[in-house]
């Protein structure tokens, strides 16, 4: 008997509006799934990621999480979305305030190191860093959360191929969780996942094993 899905979208849709849209979508993901969502601009990738992150609610259909309650989720945005008024370290610590300060510092610093940011960068403000470094810090913030469900929107957008590959290698989620990556131009990000989902305006979404979906997507583009 197949394991119950961790999350199931049943006809979940978002009506068109200034903050995006998503055509009705059925999708089931089991614990441990690693999914890449791709498609052209305006196809609803970010809207789907925000639905999974709990930042938006479907205007039609539903999203069911196993056990009736969504697990802790973390999302890194296309833009780094760091607070300019805070240092890199404080940005990472923002969501760790429930922990004792020392434990939060240790976890925050470890996350920054894991994405290749040095101790000397910790006290810098986001505007003092390159785009790639800010992106790394945004990813470190999501990784430091320890959330089992991790969602990354366009983690490699705007980066040179070498940095994009390095950043792609940093994305991970616990085995019992979920890794969802959205990208219009996935490139090296295909290697991280085992499932692919193509969203196209006016056409049904296509979900399948990575290699099948990748081949189809690459013939389309």
């Amino acid at each position: 008997m197949a394991a119950a899905p961790l999350v199931a979208l049943k006809g979940a849709a978002v009506a068109p509006g200034p903050a995006g849209a998503l055509a009705p979508l059925d999708l089931s993901l089991s614990a441990g799934a690693r999914l890449l969502v791709t498609g052209p601009s305006g196809s609803g990738k970010t809207t789907l990621l925000k639905l999974l992150a709990g930042l938006r609610r479907p205007t039609a259909g539903r999203i069911d999480w196993a056990g009736g309650r969504a697990p802790a989720r973390a999302m890194a945005f296309e833009r780094d979305a760091l607070l300019d008024s805070e240092s890199l370290l404080e940005n990472v610590l923002l969501h760790l305030r429930r922990l004792p300060r020392e434990a939060a510092l240790a976890r925050g610093r470890a996350a920054l190191r894991s994405v290749g940011l040095a101790a000397s960068d910790e006290e810098k403000r986001p505007q003092e860093l390159s785009g790639g470094m800010r992106k790394r810090a945004g990813i470190a913030r999501a990784l430091a959360s320890g959330a089992p469900v991790r969602i990354f929107d366009e983690p490699a957008a705007g980066l040179d191929p070498v940095t994009a590959r390095e950043i792609g290698a940093l994305l991970s989620a616990p085995a019992e969780g979920l890794l969802v990556v959205g990208a219009a131009d996935p490139g090296p990000l295909w290697e991280l996942v085992d499932l692919g989902l193509v969203l196209e305006p006016g056409r049904p979404a296509r979900l399948g094993p990575r290699d099948v979906i990748r081949a189809r997507w690459e013939t389309l583009t």
Partner: protein
């Protein structure tokens, strides 16, 4: 009246009404959530807001209050001299400054200088996805970012008004000395004879209400603006317009109630 006309009339009335109710509900929600966050505010963030929004407004408030205090004396001085009641000048200038002029002018200046900037900042935080990013990480953005701004702004207006009161009274005393030749000590005595702490307290009560109105207007404008570059400008403009409207309305209501 045809059915179509009835529907059109219903829409004409209903849409603005629904919009207004939504805005009022969102404002009440923001105020309520900020109030519940009061006991666990991030002290560092609050101190930063007080320093940025309060301390950096001291110069502008000092100039505004000094000119307002002097203006009260200059405006009333002619009649005071004509009527030969120089002994009432301290009372008149103090009464007007403490109860009305200072709270009102400080609030208006603050709404233009800080309210607009904070609204633009919140709109930019939405446009840059910083606020959704916090929510996506399970951080309550009201508690972490908005409540410290709300209470920091409200406290700043109150403290700046108290500071403005002192500056306005000093400027009024100096203007009375220079314009009408009334010794500073005489001005001070006239003020002490007729005014008490209650007069200052009533002015500060007003400024507390104005401060909350400015802060709520600013945060709401920032949150309601479109999450893009144009939204930042729209938020700043809306914050100032709404804050001025609320300040004037509250002034009438509170003055009537005093």
């Amino acid at each position: 009246m045809t059915d179509r006309a009835l529907v059109a009339a219903g829409r004409a009335v209903g849409r603005p009404l629904v919009g207004w109710l939504r805005a009022a509900g969102a404002l009440a929600l923001l105020a309520g959530r900020s109030a519940t966050a009061l006991g666990s505010l991030d002290g560092r963030e609050l101190a930063r807001i007080l320093a940025w929004d309060g301390a950096q407004s001291l110069g502008l408030v000092a100039i505004t209050a000094a000119l307002a205090g002097a203006l009260v004396v200059v405006q009333t001085g002619f009649f005071i001299r004509q009527l030969g009641v120089l002994g009432l000048l301290g009372w008149g200038a103090g009464y007007a400054s403490l109860r009305e002029v200072c709270p009102l002018l400080v609030a208006l200046v603050y709404a233009g200088r800080v309210g607009a900037a904070r609204a633009a900042e919140v709109a930019a935080l939405r446009a840059g996805e910083q606020l959704p990013a916090l929510e996506a990480l399970g951080v309550d953005s009201v508690r972490a970012l908005l409540a410290p701004r709300l209470w920091g702004m409200a406290a700043s207006v109150l403290l700046l008004t108290a500071f403005g009161d002192v500056v306005a009274l000093a400027a009024a005393a100096l203007a009375a000395r220079g314009w009408l030749g009334l010794p500073v000590l005489e001005f001070w005595r006239s003020m002490r004879r007729s005014l008490g702490p209650r007069d200052a307290a009533l002015g500060l009560e007003k400024s507390a209400a104005f401060g909350l109105a400015i802060a709520l207007s600013a945060l709401r404008a920032g949150l309601a603006a479109p999450a893009n570059g144009r939204g930042v400008g729209q938020a700043a403009r809306a914050a100032v317009v709404h804050a001025i409207g609320w300040i004037l309305l509250l002034d009438v209501l509170l003055t009537g109630g005093m």
